[in-house]
Symmetry: C2
Subunit: 120 residues, 2 copies
């Protein structure tokens, strides 16, 4: 698919997608058979990858971190053990974030109790 379809299906602007591509989060392929243009084609599987990027961003990972993870993942320079290790580090980071969220959540729930008791 071309950039506009990718944009529609991922609900990211063409600008943002190009920014991500230039950043190195993914890349499209120019059809070598076509000499008249250099339109880039994006694979069906990219949809899922972009969705993951979106999720990762929303939960607070930076583009640099996401790129690092994707690079490691698709490099084939990493052994299976290393890949598992990389993933476990990220899982630990996520668990830490979940804990923080639960702390702030508790703070807010306590706040509601205070209000209901008239302490505020």
């Amino acid at each position: 698919m071309l950039i506009s379809e990718l944009s529609k299906r991922t609900e990211l602007s063409i600008h943002t997608l190009r920014y991500y591509e230039k950043y190195g989060l993914f890349k499209g392929e120019v059809d070598e058979k076509v000499k008249t243009n250099n339109y880039k084609h994006y694979d069906e599987s990219l949809i899922e990858k972009v969705e993951l990027i979106k999720e990762a961003k929303e939960i607070g990972f930076t583009l640099a971190e996401i790129k690092g993870l994707l690079d490691d993942w698709y490099s084939n320079k990493l052994s299976a053990e290393k890949k598992v290790e990389v993933l476990n580090v990220k899982i630990a980071e996520i668990d830490a974030k979940i804990l923080q969220l639960q702390q702030v959540r508790k703070f807010l729930v306590d706040g509601i109790e205070d209000v209901k008791r008239g302490d505020c």
Copy 2:
């Protein structure tokens, strides 16, 4: 306490604290009895408030959102019902974030399974 103590105890730089103060997240009080300077004094209770700001930031709230919440909270313009409502909205946002984290976590855990099965 003065700014340097606040900085040490919150582990935020003086620059950042001044930025937050100027942003309106909190404010120090100038001692009216002292005419020679306009050093600002910060209340003991601010430590906890700043910690909350730090937590909220880390879990992805922007300064604008945090300011909105704090303003509502300390405004006394809100009825108890409104306050509870505001808090419930934030709790719902946090729950959504936790769900997202769990989704990405699952993705990574599945990734580990793939690696272990040799799919990657």
